[in-house]
């Protein structure tokens, strides 16, 4: 009996610790409404779950959007933009110096009027660079890449897969 009483608080503590480790959520924007950051030097937006709509613009230095799945992330008129997103995300960068992105499956990525675009995307993604000096793309599965007015368009596929040039001028991993 004594041992049981002694164990009670520790069992609760361990349960709390497990909850802490298992219920990981990134705090930040509310998925139920748009979330915007503007002004100042830099800003990083998280999302309390999935489905956030995040927008950064008019910052002096950097902006980063971090989200789970099914998010929309927009960054413009900021020197350095970055986005990290799960699956089924739509990500847009325009009028920035660099736009660096990590996204999951079925990512819709558009990088317009940017010096350097860099994206690592999951399978089923559609990636577009337009009016860009350097566009670096790594596809971890099937993807379609469109480079328009791009000085240096580099597409890498998953190991063992070579990028293919399709009839419409796009580049594909996993076949056109």
């Amino acid at each position: 009996m004594l041992v049981l009483w002694l164990r009670a608080p520790f069992a609760i503590a361990i349960t709390g610790l497990l909850l802490t480790l298992q219920c990981k959520t990134t705090e930040g924007c509310d998925p139920s409404g748009p979330c915007t950051c503007t002004g100042g030097s830099e800003c990083y937006l998280g999302c309390a779950g999935d489905g956030c709509s995040q927008e950064c613009y008019g910052l002096g230095s950097a902006c980063g959007n971090v989200c789970g799945n099914r998010c929309t992330q927009v960054c413009h008129d900021v020197p350095d933009c970055s986005s990290s997103c799960g699956d089924d995300c739509t990500i847009q960068c325009r009028s920035v110096d660099s736009c660096a992105v990590l996204c999951g499956a079925r990512c819709q990525y558009t990088c317009t009027s940017v010096e350097t675009c860099g994206v690592r995307a999951g399978p089923g993604s559609t990636l577009r660079c337009d009016s860009v000096a350097t566009c670096n793309v790594v596809c971890e599965g099937t993807c379609r890449v469109t480079c328009t007015n791009v000085s240096d368009c580099n597409v890498a596929c998953a190991p063992g897969v070579s990028p293919a040039t399709c009839a419409d001028g796009t580049t594909a991993c996993g076949g056109c």
Partner: protein, 196 residues
């Protein structure tokens, strides 16, 4: 009119008659107080979290001095350690966050992959360590003060240390079991103590 006044006088007289505060050591001895409890965060937490919090936890207090700092009264000193897990709802206003972890995108540019941002919901694990000074007022009542510190782990990757101060009281159901209320910073708690 005289009824309530007489009742008050009787209660005060009865309490005085049963008081144990002036009798050092007049209580059942115990080694450890094991206390599971519900926890509330009525004040904003340390770190980047905000809003009100709720959760659960536990405390184990080990008696180190049976007759405490004041020899003439019934007081004792314990060392208490515990853990409290609380979820905070956030303030509703989401401010600019800071990036707590970066990764590299193709081309080497940094991508923020984890944000600590004020205003959103957050989770805390508090690990308090306190000096518990007990005052054994009556057979049914005792109170205590608990200065100390707490290590907190905030949203899984940030940690810090915060000073803590609690005031509490116990209603003694029996010699071994009490209802224990604790108010202070960073958390409030209501639980059951087992004096073993």
């Amino acid at each position: 009119m005289a009824g309530p006044a007489l009742c008050t006088l009787w209660t005060a007289a009865d309490a005085a008659a049963q008081s144990t505060i002036r009798t050092p050591g007049d209580r059942r001895p115990y080694t450890i107080e094991a206390e599971p409890h519900l926890a509330l965060g009525l004040f904003g937490p340390p770190g980047d979290g905000s809003g009100g919090g709720w959760g659960a936890g536990g405390r184990a207090s080990f008696e180190i001095v049976r007759n405490g700092f004041i020899e003439s009264i019934n007081n004792s000193v314990s060392i208490g350690v515990g853990a409290d897990f609380l979820h905070y709802d956030g303030s509703g206003y989401v401010g600019p966050g800071r990036c707590t972890r970066f990764a590299s995108a193709p081309g080497g540019a940094a991508v923020c992959v984890e944000v600590s941002q004020t205003g959103g919901p957050s989770n805390y694990l508090f690990l308090p360590a306190v000096l518990q000074w007990n005052f054994w007022l009556a057979p049914k009542w005792s109170v205590f003060g608990e200065p100390g510190i707490a290590i907190y782990v905030f949203d899984y990757d940030s940690a810090g240390v915060v000073p803590t101060l609690y005031l509490g009281g116990r209603f003694h159901f029996s010699d071994k079991v009490t209802l224990t209320l604790r108010v202070g910073y960073p958390t409030f708690s209501l639980g059951v103590s087992f004096l073993l």
